[in-house]
């Protein structure tokens, strides 16, 4: 069984890499055939050269480090606020009533529109980026969490009541585990939004970070470095996705679809 699962994983990796290599090849060949202006789209070997240069002399590391830091702090804070709040909104009807209209209005405002205001208040340093990242991830995590609590099977809650268990016991033993899949998918969606937040905030006002890096070189028409920045964000997104997959497997031994 282990061998078969390993086989499946290898197959996934193999074809995944194959897809990337195929795309890079097509990109490289069409660029060399002169089907479009290379200065506009760059091509894989030029991006590779840019990567070797900027990683070689270390000039790209501060940008990566700052973006990671903004992402990590903003996302972490949003999780520790959004998950408990989502649980409370889902569990207590009155908390839901009290907050739903307010939060819906806040959620409907595109938070990119708030960036100028946030920069005005918090400056162009780390703080403003963290706030943007926080806001970007917050609603996705909170809304999925509260929706998860509200979709708990009634028959499961009835078990605790039938055997005389307390509400607090029902919350811990029924609400939390049955909401966990929702929380995890909220985290997944939130991570994507947080990454968008990093790019958007660094784009608009920054002098460092990966978003700044690709915006800056874009303006200089250095498309190889612009593309390098995009690729790094892509890799970042994939790595986070894979980490979350590991966490999901770890938590959900009881879900048959995950074993399949």
């Amino acid at each position: 069984m282990i061998a078969r699962r390993l086989g499946k994983v290898n197959e996934r990796v193999f074809y995944g890499v194959l897809g990337f290599v195929g795309l890079a090849l097509v990109w490289e060949i069409t660029a060399n055939l002169g089907l479009y202006r290379r200065s506009l789209l760059s091509h894989p070997t030029a991006i590779w050269r840019a990567a070797v240069t900027d990683f070689g002399n270390g000039s790209i590391f501060p940008h990566i480090a700052l973006s990671l830091q903004e992402f990590a702090i903003g996302f972490f804070v949003s999780l520790i606020v959004a998950i408990p709040l989502g649980l409370a909104i889902g569990w207590f009807r009155r908390v839901d009533y009290a907050t739903s209209a307010l939060l819906a209005a806040l959620n409907a405002t595109p938070n990119v529109a708030l960036i100028p205001l946030i920069v005005l208040i918090a400056g162009i340093g780390l703080e403003s980026k963290v706030i943007v990242v926080f806001l970007s991830a917050f609603f996705a995590v909170m809304v999925t969490t509260s929706a998860g609590v509200q979709s708990i099977a009634r028959r499961h809650l009835e078990i605790t009541r039938s055997f005389g268990g307390s509400q607090w016991l029902a919350f811990r033993t029924v609400a939390l585990p049955s909401t966990l899949p929702f929380i995890l998918s909220g985290i997944r969606i939130g991570a994507g939004r947080a990454l968008v937040g990093v790019v958007a905030a660094e784009f608009l006002s920054s002098n460092q970070g990966l978003g700044f890096y690709l915006g800056f070189f874009g303006q200089l028409l250095d498309t190889s470095r612009l593309m390098l920045g995009i690729v790094l964000f892509g890799i970042f997104g994939v790595v986070i996705g894979e980490l979350l997959r590991v966490v999901e497997r770890r938590f959900e031994v009881w879900r048959p679809d995950i074993h399949a």
Partner: protein, 263 residues
């Protein structure tokens, strides 16, 4: 009232207000019921006769609008425990943790609850499955776990809400025979809700027949078949006579449908 009653219900009534029309509906009308300690009693009736509602009132999941229910007091733990229609096992718990859950609800520490639950897994024939998850069990095995969870709290009375209704016919018969074996071993009072006549006759000392609109008791029939009962008893004329008698009672009280009323 004598001391050896496991359950005594007087004038239990359940009234709803219909959301559409605003009319008052009587789901259960003045049900009186006494169950002797150690007896196996079935509540039998068509859907809508309030038999499951009555069971939930006894369990405390629903509050009756009138009447009184007394359960025999037990030294510690709960007076009653429910076996649900759908097994309602928690998919995130192993079989052992599911079976221990009733005890956890009663405030027993999880570790001790597991120790106390383990023998009941054996009793219901699930040895070797303690560490499995519900999705790894068949429907019949899930109902065994469901039963073990209720047995583990060691209540005075076991409330069973059509626990075999979702099983296929063969599995249902196996589970009926198994239930009698377990009942014989655990010596519990059972109040068993079903809409199947043969199931009620086969299992019970008494079959309490209910009718719908409003839900009420129309007959209380003592089943005088020798125990222990094997499944073969279902093929005997005495068994058939009980089935016939109850079937007639239910036919008599049935509300004719619109189609049947047409000339």
């Amino acid at each position: 009232m004598s001391g050896d009653l496991a359950l005594s219900a007087r004038g239990v009534q359940m009234e709803y207000r219909d959301r559409g029309t605003g009319k008052r509906l009587l789901a259960i009308e003045k049900v009186d019921l006494d169950i002797a300690d150690g007896a196996f009693v079935s509540l039998l009736g068509p859907s809508g006769c309030g038999k499951s509602t009555f069971l939930k009132i006894v369990n405390g999941l629903i509050l009756a609008t009138a009447g009184e229910i007394k359960l025999r007091r037990v030294a510690k733990g709960r007076e009653d425990a429910m076996v649900f229609q759908d097994a309602s096992l928690f998919p995130w718990y192993s079989v052992l943790d599911n079976v221990a859950y009733g005890l956890v609800c009663a405030g027993v520490p999880r570790k001790e609850a597991r120790v106390r639950a383990a023998p009941y897994i054996e009793l219901v024939g699930l040895q070797g499955f303690a560490d499995k998850y519900p999705y790894q069990l068949s429907g019949g095995m899930q109902q065994r776990a469901n039963l073990a969870r209720a047995l583990a709290v060691d209540s005075a009375i076991l409330l069973m809400d059509e626990p075999f209704a979702a099983l296929d016919a063969q599995t249902r018969e196996v589970m009926q025979a198994e239930l009698l074996r377990i009942w014989n071993a655990a010596r519990k009072t059972v109040l068993f809700v079903t809409h199947q006549i043969d199931e009620a006759v086969y299992l019970s000392d008494r079959v309490v027949v209910m009718a719908a609109r409003p839900g009420r008791v129309v007959a209380d029939i003592t089943i005088d078949l020798p125990r222990p009962r094997k499944l073969e008893v279902k093929r005997t004329p005495e068994f058939a006579a009980y089935e016939e008698q109850i079937w007639r009672l239910i036919q008599r009280d049935r509300v004719p449908s619109a189609v049947e009323q047409a000339p």
